[in-house]
Amino acid sequence: MINPVLLIAIPLLAAFISVFIQKLSWVLLFGVSIFTAISGFFLQKGMFMIGGWKPPFGINLMIDDYSFIIIIVINLLFFLTLLSGMWELKKNKTILMVILAGINGLVMTGDLFNLFVFLEIITISGYILAASSDKYYSVFKYLVLGTLGSSLYLFGIMVLYGTLGTLNMADISQQFPNVSGSVKIISLTFVFAGLGVEAKLLPFNAWVKGIYGNTTPLTGPLFSTVFATGAIAVFGRIFGQILVPDSTLIFAFIALGLITFIFAETSAMASKKLRELLTFSSIGQAGLIITMFMIGGFYAALIQLINNAFAKTILFSYATKAYKSNGDDTINNMSGLFRKNVMMGFGFTVATLSLIGLPLFFGFYAKINMLQSAFALNMWIPALIILGSIIEGIYYIRLLVKLWNPGEEGQESSELAQSQFVIKNGFSLSLIAVLIGIIFVVSGIIPDFLTENIAKAADSLSDAATYLSTVLGGI
């Protein structure tokens, strides 16, 4: 059993050391990443006080089933990202380790302000990483919105603090139902807007296009999977368990989630570049998952979160690699590219089909769960989810068909019309693609393969009482 503090401390320590031994920093980075990826499975569950202060007075880390599964997923994703982007590491190794520490802390922390600090750690690191794409204005936009978002979040929690006198999540979740309506609405909307910036909800996410659309093989998967998963997971934790909104406000939040989903999917349909398409798809998925968290379908949301994260790893790795190798990612120029590397094609296809939610792949299980929990609420949400899925399916299928089959329109498909593009340094990606592809297929046929722990995680999220007793009653 591993103490969760180590997941934050060791990467931070390694980051500090790496400043002094630049040459060996890649060893440190991979070592740390492998350590966290493995130790995620052996994480000790329960509540951990930092500095010996009992909650609600001190900061605590909370490992329940929910953060347990998220930690595993995020650390695995981080490792896969490193594999995919290992030719891009360059000077970013230290920052990557800081990010690893930050994201682990973000998920595990039991304190709202601590969460803010970790959020800032990863976003500032994110600005620096994103700047490696040389699109400085986009990064600046990200910075402005990111800072605005975290300021709003901070404002929101400070309003809560001013009312309740505590920032401990467990304490707040206990007292929150009793606060007055206006405080509720102010704090909720500010926290929602603040986290919405990171979670890519629609009016708050103008930065995403510039950042995701210009990613490298390293930052692509990092932003779209590690960051996104962390941000959405925190979103789920806060609005699913800590600050549960009332029925009217939750309607506004659900509406925002669904609007994000459908608007982003239509935008993706109008995109001609692969990375841009994936960007909007990520936004759409974020909207969908957040909707699921909001309507209380934690299980479905978690499954889709994991489905989306692993799928996007392949998709973004592939897209960014294609751009890196050829200086272009216009879909029309990529026709028949999969024929040059069938393994990547397989992984990409399976990931895509899983994302759309076609049967035989894991995503289908997610989709039926989503529909099931959506129907529990009313009839319109599932209809909108289905509408979005149709649009999503259309552009992904268009993409797949294009990438598998070279050929002029009106002529038989043939190798002659194949794209001139190549994928350089694709070995690690092929490996990841096949691995994830097989996992998707196997878990698509036997979902229990993955979902046992997810179900527990979802239960722990909806079970606030256990959370409370673990934090406040424990030790």
């Binding site: 009016p203 989709k367 068909v401």
Partner: protein, 613 residues
């Protein structure tokens, strides 16, 4: 052998086929023949099985199960037969295919998927296999001529399948079960729920069948799919839609549940509305088929029209018309399969399916011609072939209910089919042989096998339609309808009867008489193809002397050239894209101010509205 292990075997052997095709292209293709034959053989053994339950796997908290039934067997046998026959073409196309291994694998997956659809005991299993069929067939289509049409196919198909998924979960929400039997029983207490489910679920059937207004994918996809896959799409996969319609309207007995609703011409108005759509697709399919220049597109539009007959027959839910609709499933599978296959054979030898580039092929490919001729006689519903049996039954069903507007479409489609089926016959097989195709040969023997079998089945069941109808009457009884009445070779409907054996004999007699007359008369002198009446001019180019282009131009002038539905869908797609662009400019603008404005607007709205919290 059980259904569940059959499905598992199929899925595993599809992987095997993939690997073997990578090893050796022909080997893998032969394996598809072998396996589809095996599947056909095993499925055939389930002929009399009904109510046997097989469990597949636990899918999360749900269980996927299969159950044998008569209607499942009927559809499964039609589909596997089509797949089996078409698979004979596969070995010869491996060289021309861009990705033969994937083709073979997806061919197998879609075949196994259809079996899964038909034998599904619960809606979830049905949907899973339905979608497997969709995506597996989807990825075969772009190996042919077009990269756009699979997207159209997927779009329309997913509108249907997601509507069905919605209905399934709506049912699950209100009934608490996916089981078809359980739902069927629960629905009899809840006609209001059923009415909603009926319309949402049947959309899947309509899209797959290619019923107006969802018909646009059919000509696009069938016309541009690889030549070997078009017969499967048209002859086979379209019938999956028929099956969904059957489940929705008959297995869940709409005629009982909706008996309290407004009845139009003897059926609930819900069924009548669907029949009207079927009628429109008959007319649209016929009119569009008449003007196609490409034979495959023409056959695809004829599929639209024939799907109309199927849905009309199924929606009648009576003794006669329903049997006609069911029998038309088989007839159309054989006929359109044979038509597509014969044009695949032509494309194999000449490399084109454009009718104006062909001509006079009867001299070079007589067997293909014969297969095509028999298929079109059946498709046009002319007596000695099986197609007449089903059309006759549907007409009788319509007549006894007095559905004159649907009958109008049915008659128009039936007469109109003479026009479009004759055109490829005339333009590709008859007329002047082009010098380009002087050296064309008949297709290899293995490609002849399916043509011969399909022709044989068409004739056999044309003469003895009772053989099929007896089984269909079992199906009818199993779903609570009165079985169609058969006496020997006589088929009896309330408004008349007919005996196809007698008709065949009389026709044979008439033919003999004519032949005797022909052969006792002085012998005719054979002349060269070009030796014809040319108004005294000297004509030397057979290509110019072949009337094939714009065949029915004069008739087409009466209805013009407007693809309104396609235009509508295009417009919708364009609007969606424009909307996406708008979202991009509104929410993802270059300036930060935009998004800060949106954020502030969000706060403002929430606070204006906030006092209601």
């Amino acid at each position: 052998m059980t259904i569940n292990s059959l499905i598992a075997q199929g899925m595993i052997s599809s992987l095997l086929v993939y690997l073997l095709t990578k090893l050796n292209k022909k080997l893998g293709a032969f394996l598809t023949v072998l396996f589809s034959g095996y599947l056909l053989f095993v499925i055939f053994g389930f002929q009399n099985s009904a109510g046997e339950v097989f469990s597949l796997i636990h899918f999360g908290e749900f269980e996927l199960t299969f159950m044998t039934s008569h209607y499942a067997w009927y559809f499964a046998i039609v589909l596997t037969l089509t797949y089996f026959l078409v698979s004979f073409f596969n070995p010869y196309w491996m060289k021309k295919m861009v990705n033969p291994a994937a083709y073979n694998m997806l061919f197998m997956v879609s075949m196994v998927g259809t079996v899964g659809v038909f034998y599904a005991k619960d809606f979830l299993t049905l949907f899973i296999f339905y979608e497997i069929v969709v995506w597996s067939s989807l990825f075969i289509i772009p190996m042919g001529k077009s990269r756009k049409t699979p997207v159209i196919y997927y779009t329309i198909s997913s509108i249907g399948s997601f509507a069905m998924l919605y209905a399934i979960f709506y049912l699950y929400h209100s009934v608490g079960s996916f089981d078809i039997q359980a739902v069927s029983e629960a629905m009899s207490q809840a006609p209001n729920t059923y009415r909603f489910v009926f319309f949402t679920m049947i959309v899947a059937g309509l899209t797959k069948l290619g019923i107006f207004p969802f018909h646009t994918w059919l000509p696009a996809a069938h016309g541009s799919a690889p030549h070997t896959f078009s017969p499967v799409l048209s002859g086979g996969l379209v019938k999956v839609g028929g099956f969904i319609a059957l489940i929705t309207a008959t297995v869940i007995p709409s005629f009982k549940i909706l008996a309290g609703d407004l009845q139009l011409m003897g059926v609930p108005f819900e069924n009548y509305l669907i029949m009207l759509l079927g009628a429109v697709s008959i007319v649209v399919g016929t009119l569009m088929a008449i003007k196609q220049e490409d034979a495959k597109k023409l056959i695809a539009y004829s599929t639209v029209s024939n799907s109309g007959y199927i849905i009309i027959g199924l929606m009648l839910n009576d003794q006669v018309g329903f049997a006609g609709g069911m029998m038309h499933v088989f007839n159309h599978a054989m006929a359109s399969g044979a038509m597509f296959l014969s044009f695949a054979a032509i494309a194999y030898r000449t490399g084109t399916t454009k009718m104006s580039e062909l001509g006079g092929l009867i001299k070079r490919m007589p067997l293909t011609f014969a297969a095509y001729l028999i298929a079109i006689i059946s498709l046009a519903g002319i007596p000695p072939m099986s197609g007449f049996a089903s059309k006759w039954l549907i007409f009788q069903g319509l007549a006894s209910n007095g559905m004159m507007f649907i009958a109008l479409a049915a008659f128009f489609g039936s007469i109109g089919s003479f026009l479009y089926v004759f055109r490829p016959l005339s333009a590709a097989f008859l007329g002047q042989l082009s010098p380009k195709h002087k050296d064309v040969k008949e297709v290899p023997w293995m490609m002849q096998i399916p043509l011969i079998i399909m022709s044989f089945l068409t004739i056999f069941y044309g003469i003895f339609p009772g053989r099929i109808l007896a089984y269909i009457s079992k199906i009818q009884e199993s779903v609570g309808l009165k079985g169609v009445e058969i006496e020997g070779t006589k088929i009896i409907a309330a408004t008349g009867m007919w005996d196809s054996l007698v008709i065949t004999l009389v026709f044979g007699g008439g033919f003999m008489l004519a032949a005797i007359l022909f052969f006792i008369s002085p012998k005719a002198k054979p002349v060269d193809q070009m030796n014809t009446y040319t108004s005294g001019e000297f004509i030397y180019d057979p290509d110019h002397y072949h009337y094939a282009k714009n065949y029915y131009a004069t008739f087409e002038n009466n209805y013009g050239n407007k693809k309104r539905v396609e235009l509508f869908f295009d417009a919708v797609a364009l609007r969606v894209k424009e909307f996406g662009e708008m979202v991009k400019t509104m929410f993802f603008a270059k300036s930060v101010s935009f998004s800060i404005f949106w954020i502030m607007l969000f706060f403002t709205l929430v606070y204006f509205w906030g006092d209601k919290v």
